[in-house]
């Protein structure tokens, strides 16, 4: 029995919106914010990969590889910036961050 594309889209939408919900819910905690953004990326990746695999188009899988690379870059850069920020200010609460305001 094959899988319906609607179910795949629904699952990826749940993943995407749970990530968005997490980003809104934990907007004060930067580490949880990054985890939630990872969920958003994962939802997009799942959508590309499953859609590409079901339709037989390898382009979706190729773009999913790009999303994997992008997620790695995102988490590396964010953790470095967090480390630098934590060294100076000794906290990672995004509600208290005002040093980048214009």
């Amino acid at each position: 029995m094959s899988v319906d594309i609607d179910i795949v889209l629904a699952v990826s939408a749940v993943l995407f919106f749970s990530g968005l919900w997490g980003a809104v819910r934990h907007c004060g905690d930067m580490m949880r914010l990054i985890l939630s953004l990872q969920l958003v990326f994962l939802g997009a990746l799942f959508n590309f990969a499953a859609g590409g695999a079901l339709s037989g188009d390898a382009g979706g899988l190729a773009f999913s590889l790009m999303i994997v690379a992008l997620t790695g870059v995102q988490i590396t850069v964010c953790l470095t910036l967090f480390l630098l920020y934590f060294r100076r200010h000794r906290h990672l609460n995004s509600e208290k961050i005002d040093s980048m305001k214009g």
């Binding site: 179910i7 993943l15 997490g22 580490m31 990054i34 695999a53 390898a58 850069v77 953790l79």
Partner: protein
């Protein structure tokens, strides 16, 4: 892909994604997130996209381990430990067992020539039709590494 396999992995995926948002402490959230990634890799493996599933698994395992180490270093081991809810050890044990089963499933799930063909198809498409993208992402990764090294070196140089 068998429908029952998809249903099991999708249910795990949705449950752990919601749990990773719901839990309060960062360490259980990281573990739930890794379970979500494992479930996604399982679904992708069922879709004959094992190469992508393994790439995702390797990247996520390394980045989440770094994330976990970062959380332990920044917040301190004892603070993180005291913020954990009770019965966390049992939950971690169950997650470890489930993760082992899922990883075993992803590794041992059957298929052969078709999966190899899928890898070669992705490679063909990636380097023939979208040849600019791997080059662009290579430059992006290089810029990321150079930027991180320069930022950290600059910060170290400021210390007395």
């Amino acid at each position: 892909m068998l429908s029952s396999e998809f249903i099991v992995f999708s249910a795990l995926l949705v449950v752990f994604a919601l749990m990773s948002v719901r839990v309060k402490s960062v360490v259980p959230a990281v573990f739930c997130h890794f379970q979500t990634v494992l479930a996604v890799a399982g679904v992708l493996s069922g879709f004959n996209a094992r190469f992508l599933g393994f790439s995702l698994l390797i990247m996520s395992a390394s980045s989440l381990l770094v994330f976990l180490m970062f959380a332990l270093i920044v917040f301190g081991f004892y603070d993180v430990r005291s913020s954990l809810p009770p019965k966390t050890a049992r939950l971690f044990g169950a997650m470890l067992l489930m993760g082992t089963v899922e990883t075993g499933w992803v590794f041992l799930s059957n298929g052969g020539a078709e999966k190899a063909r899928s890898v070669s198809r992705v490679g063909n498409v990636l380097y023939r039709d979208y040849g600019f993208c791997p080059v662009m992402f290579g430059v992006l990764l290089l810029a990321c590494m150079v930027g991180i090294a320069s930022l950290l070196t600059k910060e170290e140089g400021r210390k007395p």
